[in-house]
Symmetry: C2
Subunit: 458 residues, 2 copies
Amino acid sequence: MNPDNSHPGRLLKAPESFLDASGIRQVFNEGKAGRRDFIRNAFAAAGAAVAAPLALSAPGAPPPDGGDSNILDLPAHSKGLGQPVVTDGYGKPSKFETNVQRRQSPGLTQTTQASVSFAPLQSLFGIVTPSGLHFERHHQGWWDIDPSKHRLMINGSDDKIVKSPQVFTMDELMRLPAVSRFHFIECGANTGMEWGNVAVPTCQYTHGMISCSEFTGVPLRTLFEKCGVDYKRGRFVLGEGADGSSMTRTVPMELVESGEVFVAYGQNGEMLRPENGYPLRLVVPGVQGVSWVKYLRRIEVGDKPYGTKDETIHYVDLMPGGRSRQYTSIQECKSVITTPSGGQVLLDKGFYSVSGLAWSGRGKIKRVDVSVDGGRNWRTARLESPLLSKCLTRFSLDWVWDGKPALIQSRAMDETGYVQPTYQQLRAVRSTRSIYHNNAIQTWLVQESGEVKNVQLS
Amino acid sequence: MNPDNSHPGRLLKAPESFLDASGIRQVFNEGKAGRRDFIRNAFAAAGAAVAAPLALSAPGAPPPDGGDSNILDLPAHSKGLGQPVVTDGYGKPSKFETNVQRRQSPGLTQTTQASVSFAPLQSLFGIVTPSGLHFERHHQGWWDIDPSKHRLMINGSDDKIVKSPQVFTMDELMRLPAVSRFHFIECGANTGMEWGNVAVPTCQYTHGMISCSEFTGVPLRTLFEKCGVDYKRGRFVLGEGADGSSMTRTVPMELVESGEVFVAYGQNGEMLRPENGYPLRLVVPGVQGVSWVKYLRRIEVGDKPYGTKDETIHYVDLMPGGRSRQYTSIQECKSVITTPSGGQVLLDKGFYSVSGLAWSGRGKIKRVDVSVDGGRNWRTARLESPLLSKCLTRFSLDWVWDGKPALIQSRAMDETGYVQPTYQQLRAVRSTRSIYHNNAIQTWLVQESGEVKNVQLS
């Protein structure tokens, strides 16, 4: 555990999956030494007793003569009864994984209720984010709302746009035909600190406001059919949350008509977590997280965009010259290398599997290229997971590190042909004063010491 | 919470996601009554103040005049600050979901260490099983093994089959190129009680020894290439676990050569859970769970099947006439309806989305048919999730219940053309004395009372 690693702005050792950097180095060296001795011993024994394969089994296994002279050297877990089946009914990660946490960035926000916790991307595998590590962004804290009392109302901005306004209980919603789909959700402000060239130390803090889950729920189109929505006039949808901040968001009707938008109660096989909007949230694939209204209590259909506070004052992009761009919501194609990444330490020259995540709010990832020389040369990475639309895609590339400084980058392309921009390209359009929608190519500097640092190439 | 529902052999109310049957009925009735009043009130207000959309928002929302006369009626979560971002770093399910648990079947085994806990399939959505609800089957209890001390050894049954035996630390394994794939794991004894026509009450107990995760790890083929395995002679692989039961299992080399078998450290984005073999387990897609050796410490390559205890005394199929069939390991095509399922209660006539899971150890699911009249007529269900090989597939079918008794069944077909058998078909080959590999069509009886019961059609 390194309690300091929750503090941004300094280069710190990695929150690794179960060891800090010095721990890994120690095991690495023990492993090298131990392996030689162990193999020598194991195979001396094996030569003497080919018919006794247990002798090959593990450090401290019983000798081939069947005697128990060194059975006491076996680790406890190889000798006796372990723990019973989990009786409190819900399992937890290993005690060796307590360092894998979502972390708040102290000082980033003024209260812990209107704050952020970042997902530990550097410690995650594949594309699913465990719900216990899903990033959080609350505007007024989270609640554990009693689902038996929760309702969803659907109405129109006037009484003709929605012919039969309805109120649904959770039980009524859960009886309807459901879909289950894997999608990423990314906060529009993810990687926001980087606009100002603040080199946040780890990818948890640079990119940790993204997560990916299998969401389950009812297509909004299904509910609109039940309520008799006039699609000709009703071109915009307002989602409203039941928490104190009463988050409201406009979603264009095209997204609903495509069948992609749904009201979700399930996440990764179980009910949504309270921090993620239990018992009901809006899922708007490809669109920034703030539109995925949590604690969803009402949906209104109207004939124009609602222009609510968080679509006009916040979550808009400040452009060169001080003008604001009209509300942007699609999360453009983006990627980040999570291993090696800022705060991690390469222990030795040699082989590494460079691995990371790519995503696009416009569809599937088509290709990811990786550079180890700051973008002069690129190689195409392998895509290692099922290739799903508006979902994270895991990529990897084999790399032999020669021990010299290296600038590693990833560049994603989506199926529309859009290519993730460099900072130079992004700033040419957006300047440096933005907060939201930074999808520039991330650069990690691998130093000769093996320590990895967040840098921006000018 | 219904503490009794962990007890098999009696028909009990459903362990629903957040309410028991009487709770659901109450909410259902409240919802019907409340909706009428609420919509009437809401729209009276709306008519008076079209410009004040907040007046439409939710029961007890402020009146359109902006006064706070009924703001006190708002639920607490709509009035104030909620909980801060999760500071212990790892989130938990809602307190309203404590009834969604894996459950042990008391008396099924003699100790809680060599026992089973079943996943609550009736409460799960989509295809991912949350790791905290993944079924457990331990032969000698579970351990939380220190990954910095754990090793994986690869050797041959003689010193020519594997040219360069090696011992890997976890760190060394995690530096190698990894794959991430979604696969189901099913215990060979899943649905075993049903052989004897014991009508276990819920699908948690009939089918709950299956789960599905995104696993991450290193293809065994990659490790074998590093160790110089002679594929001509080495046609069988033995996996050995580090826990007290030293589970050993033979895997045919064809499965390794296909690239499908891997040594996994990741599950659903994070490290494996201790109950599931932390820090390392073998993943053998399509093959019964006992071959997915947990706490994996050694892999041996040999030229013949090992015929270990659990491949000869246990996990073999007892055939008519008392003979045993040679070791079977592929989990054949199977499905089960999870909603409605045993122990649940249909509250009213009308629309239901019949939903369930299908899987095959031989590849992708091609089609699932559903019958509501005990197999006389079938309709083809929708497949609702990404269609992945050797992975769960969620299906659903629209159904209007007329209030009369109904026998509901699902029948899966996989891409090889194999069709899930009826009990009659299965018993014609296997008789009634087996324990393992029961993949027969499951029947749930929906009674006129709405209560759902496990029955077997002769």
